[in-house]
């Protein structure tokens, strides 16, 4: 894995093209450019290694969530959102829905990979994992690089489970343009394949006989697929409660709320129960640092706290990556709500060094769709915590010499 610089003279045009041609509508965050000046180059060996591990993880996750869905009485330790509707998921049929996940890999100082989490419910970064690498290769002009177009694979998977020319509702938080950019990319892609793409909020759907219908002004009617980007734990907070149908719908969904079992970062705490029931998780156990309850970490060295439903690295207690104020606030909240957190053994991320000598920590997101590896999305940061200050970086693969 290495970082290759986009020439300074080409960067501004690259940024402009990323904005307009690659749906990068959020190129600035506070004082930072969110688009890296580098490209992350994987060897084919690294690509195949991560892809294989990702598919193994995914297989273990899927078996676990299907088991937990039929044994809700065992899930107390996960502290799932309190809703009786989880019971309604008993009609879940994986063949009817599209299961999309992204596993976050990190290189470590001991030469191995670790994963920090799975984005089980609403992973994003679609255009960055599809169009941005193509733009980067064109900008760099290296014919030895190629990329995986994640969007092509997602569109194909959706097409297999939605009727031709069907209507897809892209459910998202409509006030956030950074959510819309993710939905718009996929929506435009599906539209180009003959589908109708609608953009709406979670409460723009109603459910009749377990089928989804749009109530969006001027776009009322039956929906053939729900593509949801509103996190399940936010959905449950929406009032009035118009969302119950999401849990037992037979309308193909990506993702179905079954994603909640692995979305909580407390998922590892239920592994002993899963193992007692014959479910093996060797890849998860190999790649995820030891995870325990907050109270078990008391007085132990080398653990960090993570919120069970944290996103983009928020509220993770890596001391040198937080301001003093933020760090104290996290500890205070952990103390107050220990069950909303977990403690995880800290791993030492191995940064990549650029030819100019700058060090960047890497989070390599690896997608699966219905169990198959489907592409990469990466972020880099000078800090070991990859959070909202991190930069998006396109991932490309370098052809091995044997192919030449």
């Amino acid at each position: 894995m290495k970082l290759v610089r986009i020439l300074e003279s080409k960067f501004e045009e690259y940024r402009l093209n990323a904005i307009f041609d690659c749906y990068k509508w959020d190129p600035q965050f506070l004082d930072s450019n969110t688009l890296s000046k580098y490209v992350l180059v994987l060897t084919e060996k690294e690509y195949h290694e991560v892809a294989k591990l990702t598919e193994k993880l995914d297989s273990e996750t899927e078996i676990s969530e299907i088991f937990l869905n039929s044994h809700l009485d065992l899930t107390k330790i996960l502290k799932l959102p309190k809703t009786p509707l989880l019971k309604n998921m008993s009609n879940y049929d994986k063949n009817k829905h599209i299961r999309l996940m992204r596993y976050d890999f990190h290189p470590t100082t001991d030469g191995n990979w670790v994963i920090s989490e799975v984005n089980s419910d609403v992973p994003g970064g679609f255009a960055e994992a599809s169009l941005l690498p193509e733009l980067a290769i064109k900008t760099i002009g290296n014919k030895n690089y190629y990329s995986i177009n994640f969007g092509d694979q997602l569109a194909m998977a959706l097409s297999l489970k939605i009727k031709a020319k069907g209507t897809i509702m892209f459910v998202h938080c409509t006030s956030y343009s950074d959510d819309r950019q993710v939905m718009q990319y996929l929506g435009d892609k599906m539209q180009s394949l003959g589908y109708t793409s609608l953009y709406g909020a979670a409460d723009h759907l109603k459910f009749v006989n377990k089928e989804a219908y749009s109530i969006l002004d001027h776009h009322e009617g039956k929906i053939d697929c729900i593509f949801r980007f509103t996190p399940i734990e936010w959905l449950i907070d929406i009032k009035p409660k118009t969302w119950s149908g999401y849990f037992d719908t037979i309308t193909p969904s990506c993702n179905h709320p079954i994603a909640i079992f692995a979305q909580t970062k407390r998922f590892p705490l239920i592994w002993p129960i899963l193992e007692q029931n014959g479910i093996k998780l060797p890849t998860w156990k190999k790649l995820l640092p030891e995870t325990i309850e907050v109270k078990q970490a008391k007085g132990k060295e080398g653990y960090i706290y993570k919120p069970a439903y944290g996103r983009v690295g928020e509220n993770i207690s890596i001391k040198e990556a937080c301001s003093k104020e933020e760090y104290q606030e996290i500890l205070k909240d952990v103390h107050k709500h220990p069950k909303k957190y977990l403690a995880q053994k800290r791993f030492i991320s191995k940064p990549l060094t650029t030819p100019q000598g700058t060090k960047y920590h890497v989070c390599l997101g690896s997608y699966t769709i219905d169990g198959k590896h489907a592409g990469f999305y990466a972020r880099i940061s000078p800090k070991p915590r990859i959070d909202s200050d991190a930069e998006d970086i396109p991932v490309v693969i370098e052809r091995s010499k044997s192919h030449e």
């Binding site: 506070l30 006030s175 002004d217 776009h219």
Partner: protein, 210 residues
């Protein structure tokens, strides 16, 4: 001009502050642009500031038409207008909570005006907001909520402003809106002076609570 060309006039390469120009209203600017005869394109006279102050940034939080027009008026005295509109459009024919439809034609008009104005690389910024972003009242569930808020990450930090010699911020609007107030309170805590004007009176320093 297409969307990229218009964006590049508002955000020319290698100029200070332009990285904060929000791309969202520019993205579809060359598609289905409605014709608006009702817009009065006269550049307004600015009463609340007579000449450029290198240590002062301005945030205009009025309706989008006035905001862009005042941005151009301030460009004529040396300020760099930075549009930070961030609302999306509803699907076709769907009623939205916020009308963003006039922003696009005004940005095109503004681009033609700006192309005639030579600004310094380090010209102080005037950030352009639309006060209608906060219209989120839905009379019916079928309406598309495309209201939006301004967040701290949408603007430079206090440290950045101070490093670039900006010590004062004038807010021009009918009032200091709730989302902006939170950001300004943080600025004030970090030693930036905050002033307010309704557009007619001279700016007066204000104290803010988060």
């Amino acid at each position: 001009m297409n969307s990229k060309e218009i964006y590049r006039i508002w955000a020319p390469y290698s100029q200070r502050w332009v990285d904060w120009v929000r791309p969202v209203p520019f993205i579809n600017i060359d598609h289905n642009l409605p014709h608006h005869e009702i817009i009065d394109y006269t550049i307004p006279h600015i009463n609340y500031i007579k000449s450029i102050a290198e240590d002062t940034a301005i945030i205009i939080d009025t309706n989008s038409i006035q905001s862009i027009k005042e941005g151009i008026a301030l460009a004529l005295i040396g300020y760099r207008p930075i549009p930070i509109f961030n609302g999306t459009n509803p699907p076709s024919n769907t009623k939205g909570t916020t009308d963003n439809s006039l922003i696009e034609p005004l940005l095109i008009w503004g681009a033609y005006q700006l192309a005639k104005i030579k600004l310094k690389n380090d010209a102080p910024p005037v950030f352009l907001l639309d006060q209608n972003r906060l219209n989120r009242y839905k009379t019916d569930r079928s309406i598309f909520d495309n209201s939006w808020d301004i967040y701290p990450q949408d603007l430079p930090s206090a440290e950045y402003f101070l490093n670039k010699g900006i010590t004062k911020i004038i807010v021009r609007g009918e009032k200091v809106n709730k989302d902006l107030r939170k950001i300004l309170a943080k600025y004030q805590k970090n030693n930036l002076q905050i002033f307010f004007t309704n557009g007619y009176d001279s700016p007066e320093e204000i104290r803010l609570r988060k």
